[in-house]
């Protein structure tokens, strides 16, 4: 059966399109929907499908390549490299905690219940453990 992985961007969002793309591809790699060695569509093809400029896609790919999630080789396009197994920078964990606290505070202030937030976080953790 053919695998499927979809990208969805909101052009009216405050978050830049390249960030939305990079975030979603990263999530797909972490969740295993994209496996190491999978080719991503050419920049122009994805730009065409999303109706945005190809530089936006190229920027998203470059961001992911800098993080080590993608291999970009001339003539072969972008391939999923997998998740790095090196030990993380201690500052990275601190950053993560800070961003998570900010995110939780933001959705809580917008009315999402504590129970719902805990449920969503648990679902993410379960996905990671699988």
């Amino acid at each position: 059966m053919a695998r499927s992985a979809q990208l969805k961007i909101d052009v009216s969002s405050d978050v830049p399109a390249y960030r939305q793309i990079a975030d979603q591809v990263r999530a797909l790699v972490v969740e295993g929907a994209l496996e190491p060695g999978d080719s991503l569509p050419p920049v122009r093809k994805l730009a065409l499908d999303l109706g945005i400029h190809f530089n936006t896609i190229a920027e998203a790919y470059r961001t992911l390549a800098r993080e080590g999630l993608l291999d970009i080789t001339h003539g072969h396009g972008a391939r999923v490299a997998g998740i790095s197994s090196k030990s993380p920078d201690p500052e990275e964990a601190e950053n993560f905690r800070q961003r998570l606290r900010e995110l939780v505070a933001m959705v809580r202030s917008r009315g999402l219940s504590t129970r719902r937030i805990v449920g969503e976080l648990r679902a993410v953790v379960d996905g990671l453990e699988q």
Partner: protein, 367 residues
């Protein structure tokens, strides 16, 4: 069969064919009863609330549009069938009537669009766009892909080959049949063929995977069949030009390909095109929304969106395709087609009175 009977039959066949072509032009046939001009959440290309198409106002706009369109087109086809004189003038009037039918549908669609804008509550433009990360085309059959490629190449290859054959046999070509003018017609064929081939290529590499259908594979299938329809219609027209030009070389004494040869071929091509048309109607998925804003459509039917990388997009009703006029490539395609058509017209313009005179003389001698 006598020559007079043969010509009378040819006139009748051609007249019937041309009148039916006026009635079933590409801008007319989608408006047979039963079809609602919806695509995504649009009605006559305007973003409206989903229930508008089924409201009394929506139904009224559609009914009025359909009544006006079909009355206008039936009247046009009827006047043509009854009043057009036989011969070359009939063919010239046919082209005028086809252009007229397009203009009528254009104006009426514009009126319906305006009425929708006035009467309907405007709905927000979509801001969410989707794309798949895995390539399309896995489910396409090899036969269909080969046929599509063949019909992409044929519209250009056929007039090019004819041009080369004419050039190689220049000295053998009967001077009274004006080989230079035949070559001009072939140049026009090359320009027309280039345009059709470019649009077919654009449908493959310059179209969104979510247009015309909800999945990339289904969209590719629709685009392939759309390319097939363009390919078969243009191959039939260009093939006719090429056969007419080459016939006197291989059948000494003949001025053009006989009607008994060309007419059945045209009928077969027309039948195939209609089959593809029904197939396209089945493949079209009205849930495939238009991700771009209404304001990208200029003068009702012309798509102009500099921020859209697509070369080719579905028309506002979703049937068929429209080019993105903000792309330079599209204007290059138009430029090539226009220059070659102009070259041919300049060369053959003074041939038309000659043709009409000869046609009258032949008919006079037969009566």
């Amino acid at each position: 069969m006598s020559d007079a009977t043969s010509i009378r039959l040819m006139d009748l066949g051609l007249r019937t064919l041309q009148a039916s072509l006026i009635l079933l032009g590409p801008k007319i046939w989608p408006w047979l009863p039963g079809r609602v001009p919806e695509r995504g959440s649009t009605f006559f290309g305007v973003r409206v609330p989903p229930e508008f198409a089924r409201s009394d106002t929506g139904r009224n706009i559609l009914r009025t549009f359909r009544r006006r369109l079909w009355t206008g087109i039936f009247a046009l086809a009827g006047i043509f069938a009854v009043a057009a004189p036989d011969g070359v003038i009939q063919t010239l009037l046919f082209f005028c009537a086809v252009t007229m039918s397009w203009l009528i549908s254009w104006v009426l669609y514009g009126i319906a669009e305006r009425r929708t804008r006035i009467d309907a509550e405007s709905a927000p433009e979509p801001s969410v766009r989707t794309a798949t990360l895995f390539p399309e085309g896995h489910s396409q059959s090899r036969g269909l892909a080969l046929l599509a490629w063949a019909l992409t190449i044929v519209p250009v290859a056929m007039p090019l080959t004819t041009g080369i054959l004419l050039a190689l046999n220049w000295s053998r070509y009967p001077v009274r049949l004006h080989p230079d003018r035949k070559l001009s017609i072939i140049v026009m064929g090359v320009g027309f063929g280039l345009m059709v081939t470019s649009i077919q290529l654009a449908l493959r590499i310059g179209a969104r995977g979510s247009d015309w259908a909800t999945t990339p594979d289904a969209s590719l299938k629709y685009r392939t069949y759309l390319g097939l329809m363009m390919g078969i219609v243009s191959a039939a027209i260009i093939g006719n030009m090429c056969t007419d030009s080459l016939w006197p070389l291989y059948r000494p004494g003949a001025t053009m390909a006989p009607f008994e040869v060309t007419f059945p071929v045209l009928l077969i091509a027309l039948g195939f095109a209609h089959w593809v048309r029904f197939k396209l109607a089945k493949l079209f998925d009205s849930r495939s929304g238009d991700p771009m804003a209404d304001r990208c459509w200029k003068w009702v039917f012309f798509y102009y969106n500099p921020s859209d990388p697509a070369w080719v997009v579905p028309t506002r009703s979703g049937i068929g395709c429209s080019l993105n006029h903000a792309r330079a490539t599209v204007w290059i395609i138009y430029g090539v087609a226009t220059v070659s058509c102009l070259l041919a017209f300049i060369q053959i313009a003074h041939l038309v009175p000659d043709l009409i005179r000869t046609d009258f003389a032949i008919r006079e001698s037969l009566h």
